[in-house]
């Protein structure tokens, strides 16, 4: 079972827009909520009001980028399982618990077979797998497999919890094997990229790089006066008239 399928019929995955993600962590909370209340062992927390450690399938890092030109940027960087085509986490698994589905390419863990050795988490270059401390079994993003095909849910809810909840529209879900799907066209239009291509995992999930930011306040612009500047300049340094009187009176009190 831990042999990878030669090819998958679909490649369901996420496209994450680093330009629009605002780092609100709403997707982290939605993910933890759904995956704690539904399929599989709940995602436990250890000492949540103290040292605060726990299992998460989706985490948001934030990076500071200082480009050669222009201003520094803060980029919020969501990271979850990329459902790789050549998933090293699957082939190392000794028990057959880890597998990649032929029908849609989703990488899953069969919790009834996992022995909690942790080797698959070592094999994943992205840190997308975590052993749950309470359950002792491997947890990872399921692409909300219990939502996307769930006919008990209204149609608009049949997407991963993180995608459904993202207030910025930074997360997109779809079939990346179909060149005409919305996600594939988005990747095409925005130059979507793979993370760590040199690790040769062939991730399905794609990341859209941040767009160029405007340069209105970039260092080379400062010093030049805007044409509107005279109208925007403060009219009086010291308050005069009624405000001035009020100010002086209050000062005396």
């Amino acid at each position: 079972m831990t042999a990878l399928p030669a090819s998958t019929n679909k490649k369901l995955g996420l496209v994450i827009d680093l330009d629009t993600c605002v780092g609100c962590h709403a997707c982290v909370t939605a993910c933890k909520g759904w995956n704690t209340q539904n399929y599989g062992a709940p995602l436990s927390d250890q000492d949540p009001y103290g040292d605060a450690s726990g299992t998460f399938l989706n985490r948001i890092h934030s990076y500071q980028v200082e480009p050669d030109q222009g201003l520094a940027q803060t980029i919020h960087f969501p990271k979850s399982c990329l459902h790789c085509d050549d998933a090293p986490c699957v082939t190392v698994c000794p028990t057959g618990a880890s597998y990649k589905r032929e029908e849609d390419g989703i990488v899953l863990v069969n919790e009834d077979a996992c022995m909690g050795c942790g080797l698959c988490a070592w094999a994943c270059p992205y840190g997308a797998r975590e052993v749950d401390e309470a359950a002792g079994i491997m947890k990872k993003c399921t692409l909300c497999v219990d939502r996307i095909y769930n006919e008990n849910l209204p149609e608009e809810d049949r997407v991963p919890a993180c995608v459904r909840t993202c207030p910025a529209g930074a997360r997109h879900f779809g079939d990346l094997a179909d060149p005409d799907s919305d996600v594939s066209r988005l990747v095409q239009a925005r130059g979507g990229v793979d993370l760590m291509p040199e690790q040769e995992t062939k991730p399905v999930n794609k990341y859209l790089p941040p767009r160029e930011k405007d340069t209105l306040q970039a260092p080379e612009m400062s010093g030049e006066e805007d044409v509107l500047a005279p109208f925007l300049a403060p009219v009086a340094e010291e308050p005069k008239g009624f405000l001035g009187w009020l100010d002086r009176t209050l000062e005396k009190l």
């Binding site: 934030s62 990076y63 980029i75 000794p94 028990t95 270059p125 840190g127 993370l195």
Partner: protein, 300 residues
């Protein structure tokens, strides 16, 4: 990587145990009766003790038996097979020698091969991981095999053999360190390739205030200063000192020679323990880059 004591003990002890089984299996005139029993008992205690401590590392032990199912793809599954087959074959071989005074040589050869295969499969669990560049090199299996053979040779009373094997293991360890210090840059994963963001990327905020499974398990950092000291201690104890003790041409009595060999063995195992600790503690997992670690190791 987090240097878990159970895994380090496992690989040190079971390596020596399977090394001893290898030499017992190939021996043209292996020990029989009570002497044989003692040798095999030591080998099994080391090999099984090691396996047991690895078993305790599992977080869901009740499914351990399922690890026999994926030998086609998984080195960990192959290790489980090799270990059990080696122990069973050598068990039959030992029973013949101890209880029946019969030496069935071909069985010993098969058992010897399986014992080596066990050590090799253990090493491949680490060597296969591209995400841990320091392990992902040919010197990793070479080093595990050399230490197993060196320890096994001494345990089986082959002092001269063990002396040269100690030196060989030491040389391979140096090779592993030399290559290992370069592997991260060779693999080419950097914080830029990890995030695909442009020049000058630094971690601004981690995803969480506390630590997590990933940072505990995979983002272990050891001060470079200590690493150098420990490398010197490890190399001296695992290789040079025991080699000198067993190869030195003193004309000692039988008892003194055995005492010296015993001392060499203890120093050697201590040294292997130190180098194994370093093998884990120094290993950088590429996921550390996401947490702002190992930037000094990445390619420019």
């Amino acid at each position: 990587m987090h240097p878990a004591p159970s895994v380090i003990i496992f690989s040190t002890l079971s390596g020596a145990g399977f090394g001893l089984l290898f030499f017992l299996g190939l021996d043209p005139d292996p020990p029989r009766g009570w002497v044989g029993f003692t040798f095999f008992a030591i080998a099994y205690a080391l090999a099984c003790g090691g396996l047991f401590s690895a078993f305790f590392h599992l977080k869901n032990k009740k499914n351990a038996w399922k690890s026999y199912s994926q030998w086609r793809t998984s080195w960990l599954s192959r290790e489980a097979w090799a270990a059990v087959l080696a122990l069973v074959v050598m068990g039959v071989f030992a029973a013949g020698l101890v209880f029946r005074d019969t030496h069935f040589a071909p069985l010993g050869w098969v058992g010897a091969l399986l014992s080596l295969a066990t050590v090799f499969t253990t090493s491949m669990i680490y060597a296969q991981l591209r995400a841990v560049p320091r392990w992902n090199q040919a010197a990793t299996p070479a080093m595990f095999l050399a230490y197993a053979l060196a320890g096994g040779a001494l345990l089986s009373g082959r002092e001269t053999w063990s002396g040269w094997l100690f030196l060989l293991a030491g040389a391979i360890t140096l090779w592993h360190w030399w290559k290992g210090d370069r592997r991260f840059a060779e693999v080419g994963t950097t914080i830029r390739s990890a995030t695909r963001l442009n020049s000058g990327v630094t971690l601004f905020e981690a995803p969480h205030t506390g630590d997590n499974y990933l940072t505990r398990e995979m983002v272990f950092r050891i001060a470079r200063k200590h690493a150098v000291k420990l490398r010197v201690i490890g190399l001296l104890a695992a290789s040079l000192v025991p080699a000198i003790l067993v190869l030195a041409p003193f004309d000692l009595g039988f008892a003194a020679k055995h005492a010296l060999a015993g001392l060499a063995l203890l120093i050697h195992l201590g040294g292997v323990f130190v180098t194994r600790w370093l093998f884990f503690a120094e290993a950088e997992h590429v996921v550390g880059l996401y947490y702002g670690a190992h930037l000094d190791r990445q390619a420019a």
